[in-house]
Amino acid sequence: MKKLIITAAIAAIAGVGYAGPVLALDVEAAKGVIEQNNCMQCHGLRKDKDGPSFMKTAEKYKGKATAVDEIVKHVTSGKKVKLADGSEENHKIAKTMPPNDAAQLKNLAEYVLSIQPK
């Protein structure tokens, strides 16, 4: 019985400890991509400009499993977006060095999703 409890405890700890190969959010790297692409010209962290704030985007995608993929698609496809004044424009295509670096774009999306209200 004792052996069983110990085994179960080890399994539980291991289970809790394992969360898949998740890389930690690199805030500095995300900010670098944001500055390089002039994102803050149209978006604020918590303030709406011509585009919605990152905080608003994070709220919109809260709990959505496909959030990261959708944001990456949003910033790389150049799709039409609605500006604050009601007009439409193609979203700027975010560039990375090297080009289309999936890890950098994913990190950028995760940073946007991490912006919470103060």
């Binding site: 500055e35 390089q36 010209q41 918590r46 424009e89 080009p99």
Partner: protein, 202 residues
Amino acid sequence: MANLETGKQGIWATLRRPSVKYSMLGLLVVGFVSGIVFWGGFNTGMEATNQLEFCVGCHEMRDNVYQEYKYTIHYSNRTGVRAVCSDCHVPKDWTHKIIRKVKASYEIWGKITGKIDTKEKFEANRMAMAEREWARMKARDSIECRNCHSFDAMNPEIQKKTPYKKHMEAKAQGKSCIDCHQGIAHKLPKGFKKPGTEEEEE
């Protein structure tokens, strides 16, 4: 050789003495042709230092900024127009070009002393180097950008609405390109924040 009139000797006496052997025309022609050869040679040599190949001849440029620049629109684009290092970093007009070239001698000192000879050293100095270059560009109203770009040539039919609006605002405020466009051909220094985009801290 002794000067016949004064009897003085030495190089200056020789140079000051009128020629008794060569005609005025001959001296003028030789002087004129030599002038062209030396002046042309000097400028050709200086232009050689404006080539991209010269700039990336040192590993400091080749392994850092050159690699970043290769991913940008100034290196590769739809129409095949390329702006090389000197197009942005060296003035076109002769006077400012020679001043820049003389100042660049400090960079040779940096090369000799190994100031940025590793990636770590380059990154540690990136902000200082970038700020120095931005200040130089700002001081001349981004003339190197404006050699190709101009507010007046921007077509609102083709340029996206938001950038066009911002460009026209910048024009009205008397701003020049470098006031907003930093890091367009290279990585921005770590921790740099674009002016005018500061807002609430996290």
